[in-house]
């Protein structure tokens, strides 16, 4: 009995000896990828994840699927591959807009589908539809877990300005009323930022230690990420950290996971919109 106890203890110590964080610990890390799928880079990233036997979560942009499976099958094929290889797929909303730049419904606003207009302002209705549109796309909704990551974190990140915070609360209420969860991140690789490129790996490993592990934000649309991901994963592992899936993946792919409200007729969206608007009046916006 005593012998086995010391054997287990020594195994535990050997396991921990790999850890290089200043506190002597290693942590769990969850990999997430925003903005895709990219026709070339996402398959490369999936190859790396497969080779390294690692599962990730992809927050896809709804606009990439707007032409439908028949006209543009490639993004759907990538989703099929993600699903078959056990990755989780969430929504990064329809267009990469700043959701909390909201004006009154009767004011002139920007076009959410124009990348030059992504910073807004938008009407509440435009924001509402941009969040729910991927779940209203019949071909896309069956792939999506009811998990959203808001672009720029806008809506989730708090503001000290009460007017902006009321808009943030409204956005989070749209998610809550639609039974959609939000997945934030606490480790930002900033893989899009060429100024930081020479320091990305060093910074990633530092953040894992400082923040005691957590959700890593990357972009599967960045060539930098496709080129370096394998090295990053190997380094994370060699430092003793464990890369774990955000969930166990979708085991029952036949079950659609979109919220019930998005599967019914368009009037359901209208009633949800008026329901959400009741909330915003209560919080004084």
């Amino acid at each position: 009995m005593k012998k086995s106890f010391f054997w287990i203890l020594s195994l535990f110590l050997i396991g921990n000896s790999q850890a290089v964080c200043p506190d002597g610990k290693s942590y769990n890390v969850y990999l997430t990828f925003d903005d895709g799928p990219h026709p070339v880079l996402t398959p490369k990233i999936l190859d790396i994840l497969k080779e390294e036997e690692v599962k990730g979560t992809f927050f896809v942009m709804g606009y990439r699927f707007k032409n439908g499976k028949n006209k543009n099958p490639k993004p759907f094929e990538i989703l099929d591959r993600m699903k078959n290889e056990g990755h989780l797929i969430g929504s990064h909303t329809q267009n990469h807009i700043k959701h909390n730049n909201i004006k009154d419904d009767n004011e002139i606003t920007k076009n959410p589908s124009d990348p030059n207009d992504y910073l807004g302002p938008f009407t509440k209705r435009q924001v509402f539809e941009n969040i729910l549109k991927p779940y209203s796309n019949i071909e896309l909704q069956s792939y999506l877990a009811p998990l959203v990551r808001l672009p720029y974190g806008a809506g989730k990140i708090k503001s000290t300005d009460p007017i902006i915070q009321a808009k943030n609360d409204w956005i989070m209420n749209v998610l809550a009323k639609s039974k959609l969860g939000h997945v934030f991140w606490n480790i930002d690789v900033e893989d899009w930022n060429v100024q930081k490129q020479p320091f990305l790996l060093e910074n990633l490993l530092k953040q894992i230690c400082q923040k005691k592990g957590g959700v890593v934000l990357m972009h599967d649309t960045e060539s930098n990420t496709a080129e370096n991901l394998q090295n990053w994963i190997q380094k994370i592992k060699s430092e003793g950290h464990k890369i774990v899936p955000l969930s166990e993946g979708r085991k029952d792919a036949s079950q659609p996971l979109a919220p019930e409200i998005c599967k019914s007729e368009p009037s359901a969206l209208d009633s949800l919109y008026s329901e959400v608007n009741k909330i915003i009046f209560k919080i004084g916006n």
Binding site: D34, D35, H38, P39, V40, L41, K44, H96, K98, N116, Y118, L119, A145, P146, L147, P151, Y152, G153, K156, I157, K158, S159, T160, D161, K179, G181, H182, V183, F184, W185, N186, D188, E190, W192, N193, V194, Q195, K196, P198, F199, E202, N203, Q210, K211, G214, V215, L217, H219, T221, E222, S223, N224, A226, L246, S247, D252, Q255, L257
Partner: protein
């Protein structure tokens, strides 16, 4: 049951928003009389706060210059000096994915801000400053997965830059007349500023 599973996934990360850190410098420049730095304070769960720290080369005293409301949560990426006490302040949101840089002039004598333009470019390291313009060398990934570099020029008729040439961002040290200033610390975590001016040396914190 499945909904509960996903609710659990998202709730695990509800408290993971942001990370409290001490303030960092993001860039610096000097007009020969003052040193100007960009400062960023990250607050747990909240948008970062940013402002300009102005240090007089004569007295080595510091003044905080707040940014206008619409810029106060945007990182100060670069500060360019121009005639008539003007600074051109380049800001960008760096949360999740960068947004388009915005350019404002600041008359630092009277603390007057004015928007002069923005650029459709998220990722860049090199900028070329000419008399009335800034060209950003924009790095993008195309549909083939290749990285491309495209110069995007912004002309500012009302501005005459006093320092021209090609700059690699971020600026972390500057020598101007008798002033030498340098940001100290790990890359992008510069928490100290060393200033040598008028034969005096002083260290600053944001």
């Amino acid at each position: 049951m499945k909904s509960l599973k996903y609710l659990a996934i998202s709730s695990i990360f509800i408290l993971s928003t942001g990370y409290a850190q001490s303030p960092v410098y993001t860039t610096l420049n000097s007009d020969g009389k003052n040193i100007f730095t960009g400062v960023k304070i990250e607050k747990k769960d909240y948008e970062p706060e940013t402002y300009i720290q102005k240090i007089s080369a004569d007295t080595l005293s510091q003044t905080k210059i707040p940014l206008p409301k619409e810029l106060s949560h945007r990182d100060i990426i670069a500060i360019f000096t121009a005639e008539k006490n003007l600074l051109v302040v380049m800001t960008q949101k760096t949360i999740e994915r960068g947004d388009n840089p915005q350019f404002y002039t600041l008359n630092h004598e009277i603390n007057e801000w004015k928007k002069i333009g923005d650029s459709n470019c998220i990722s860049f390291a090199k900028v070329k400053v000419e008399k009335n313009s800034i060209t950003i060398h924009c790095i993008e990934t195309n549909d083939k997965g290749e990285r491309t570099e495209t110069p995007r020029k912004l002309v500012f008729e009302s501005v005459v830059f006093t320092q021209v040439g090609e700059i690699t961002l971020p600026s972390t040290s500057i020598t101007k007349d008798s002033i030498k200033a340098e940001l100290l610390g790990d890359p992008f975590e510069w928490r100290r500023l060393k200033v040598n001016a008028e034969k005096k040396e002083k260290f600053f914190h944001p």
